[in-house]
């Protein structure tokens, strides 16, 4: 009963104090709370989003929903046409893109090179694709930075990933070289499976997925010919499912139908490189550490604000006690004020995060060197942070109020130390 009475009168006082407080002071406190909230949610959200962006790119530009690839023991998938036929019978499957892949080398300036010159060579994964099928799955045509994307009738034309070119990746180490002075229209010599062929660079592909950026793309029929795969057995099959399809269930269906005997079947999650998973965990920890510091800063800010407020209002706190208002009521009034600042700050912060920042970063991702960073703010985790912020703020508001309330009533009224 007393608790509710104290809370009721504490609320009565808090409302009036907030109403009569300076607009700028209230605005500043709420601004600090908004910033703290954003610090809690956005910093860790961007750290995780940086990797999520990388994972999303890996999913969208390389593996698609399901990736079927060759077993370790072979460099192609046995019975590929049959697997593709199975895939096409599944109602969940929307698009399929078979890929031929084989390691090879690329050489430029071979016509003008002197005997003493260092060869202009780079190693690359030679990937044969059906340009239309691949574009439906990975949208490669949207990642062409220079020149044009492939068409099914292109002959001896290739697309190079940016990391094969020195102007995009000016790094050279003993085990890794890039091609110099190569651009759209340059003739280069590719060597795969012991066969050399002169091809023209039709376009340059810019992607933040290494497997894409380090590949050379060519129409599949020509690659098949070069690597002598007349049986149509491919090295990879990327599978895009219809919206809402259960990826794990489709994978299980494929395994049940024996696809696993000749190929490795992975969902896009299975196919994620382990380092990405490790980095997510690392960044989440880092984000939590930064958030904890933010939380401490918020607590200290609120503590100082409430302490100064309570200190300057010490006389009135004394008067309240003098006329018989319970100390608990006064403490409650400060708790309600702290709650007001925390709830308002978090509320505005939530609006900023979900109606401004998340859509903004989805539309205009942050251009990190290895990822298009988005803002990851799962609602559940965000509300946990809101709860933490409010709880911390309430404690930070209660302690200084309690310190002032405990002082001698008459000393407070008369302003004595």
């Amino acid at each position: 009963m007393n608790f509710f009475l104290n809370a009721k009168i504490g609320f009565f006082l808090a409302i009036r104090q907030i109403r009569k407080a300076s607009f700028w002071t209230t605005g500043l406190i709420v601004f600090v709370m908004i910033m703290t909230f954003l610090n809690l949610v956005v910093v860790s959200g961007i750290l995780v989003g940086l990797i999520e962006g990388s994972i999303a790119a890996w999913h969208n530009q390389y593996t698609s929903d399901i990736m079927i690839s060759n077993l370790e023991t072979k460099d192609y998938i046995e019975d590929s046409p049959n697997i593709i036929a199975i895939l096409k019978t599944l109602p969940e499957v929307q698009y399929v893109s078979p890929r031929f892949a084989k390691g090879g080398t690329l050489e430029a300036n071979y016509r003008t090179k002197k005997e003493t010159d260092k060869p202009n060579i780079a190693s690359a994964q030679i990937i044969g694709i059906n340009p239309e099928a691949e574009d439906q799955i990975t949208g490669l045509s949207h990642h062409i930075a220079e020149g044009e994307y492939l068409t099914p009738t292109d002959y001896d034309k290739v697309i190079l990933g940016q990391f094969l070119l020195a102007q995009y990746l000016p790094v050279e180490s003993p085990g890794f070289t890039t091609l110099k002075d190569v651009g759209v229209g340059t003739k280069i010599r590719m060597k795969v499976n012991g066969i050399s062929r002169e091809v023209v660079v039709k376009g340059i592909l810019k992607s933040k997925v290494d497997n894409v950026s380090m590949g050379m793309y060519m129409v599949d029929s020509q690659v098949r010919e070069l690597i002598s795969r007349q049986d149509n057995n491919v090295s990879q099959i990327a599978v895009k499912l219809k919206d809402g399809a259960d990826v794990a269930a489709v994978k299980n269906q494929l395994l049940l139908r024996g696809v696993g005997k000749n190929a490795k079947v992975q969902t896009y999650i299975d196919a994620q490189p382990k380092f990405l998973k490790d980095i997510i965990a690392t960044f989440a920890m880092l984000g939590n550490a930064i958030s904890s510091i933010g939380l401490i800063v918020a607590s200290v800010t609120i503590f100082i604000v409430i302490f100064i407020n309570a200190l300057t209002r010490r006389k009135f706190i004394g008067i309240l006690k003098g006329i018989g208002i319970n100390g608990k009521v006064i403490e409650m009034s400060y708790i309600f004020q702290s709650m007001f600042y925390a709830v308002l700050g978090s509320g505005v912060g939530l609006l900023v995060v979900y109606f401004v920042l998340v859509p903004l970063f989805l539309t205009y991702p942050i251009d990190f060197p290895f990822s298009d960073g988005i803002l990851v703010a799962p609602l559940g985790e965000t509300f946990i942070r809101v709860g933490l912020l409010i709880f911390t703020t309430l404690i930070a508001g209660y302690i200084p109020a309690r310190m002032i309330v405990r002082k001698n009533t008459l000393d407070s009224i008369l302003g004595r130390k």
């Binding site: 009168i9 008067i319 006329i323 018989g324 319970n326 008459l410 009224i413």
Partner: protein, 224 residues
Amino acid sequence: MIEVKNLVKTFRDGEAETKVLKGIDLRVHEGEFIAIMGRSGAGKSTLLYQMSLLDDPTSGEIIINGHNAHVMKSEEKTSFRLLNCGYVFQDYALLPELTSLENVVLPLLMQNLNKKEAYQKAKEALVKVNLSHRFDNLPSHLSGGEQQRVSIARAISSHPKILFADEPTANLDNESSSVIMDIFKELHKEGQTIIMVTHEQQYAELAQKIIKIDDGKIISVTKV
């Protein structure tokens, strides 16, 4: 109603010790109007603060209506003040963010009266001090005399057993002071026990008894 026995109050500032009340004995009966007078620093306000339980004496006893204040804890004293005492301070001591009506209603709400009844009583108290037209004004929009009347309304709204007033006219002009003292006279007529500190003889003479203090001791008790 109030019995003070051998009341001593000493202030300490480091090593220095100042004895402000040096063994006061005093008895105030129900319905009495007492004025406490003395020169500055004589200890009159200190005596009032001890008797009204706003401060803790160094030694001695204060018994109000049979309750020994000496044994009360801080929270009990707060609750006791709420239910038994009314206060009028020299500087009005109103809460600046509350309107006149809200200032008066606050202790009534704290007594757990229902909202309607509390506001009704607060309005009646304000009407009694002729402030029916100032319910919704903030203290900053009231004159000094009006603020002191709000302070009186707050003090009497719950019909306290004792009304303590610490130099209630010290900050007011003659006209406002007369209005305030008329209210005190009226309250006394209605049977209100009043203990008032003042340094103005003309207002002290409105009381039944004038207690003069000097150097922490009662030097005279005069019936008016």
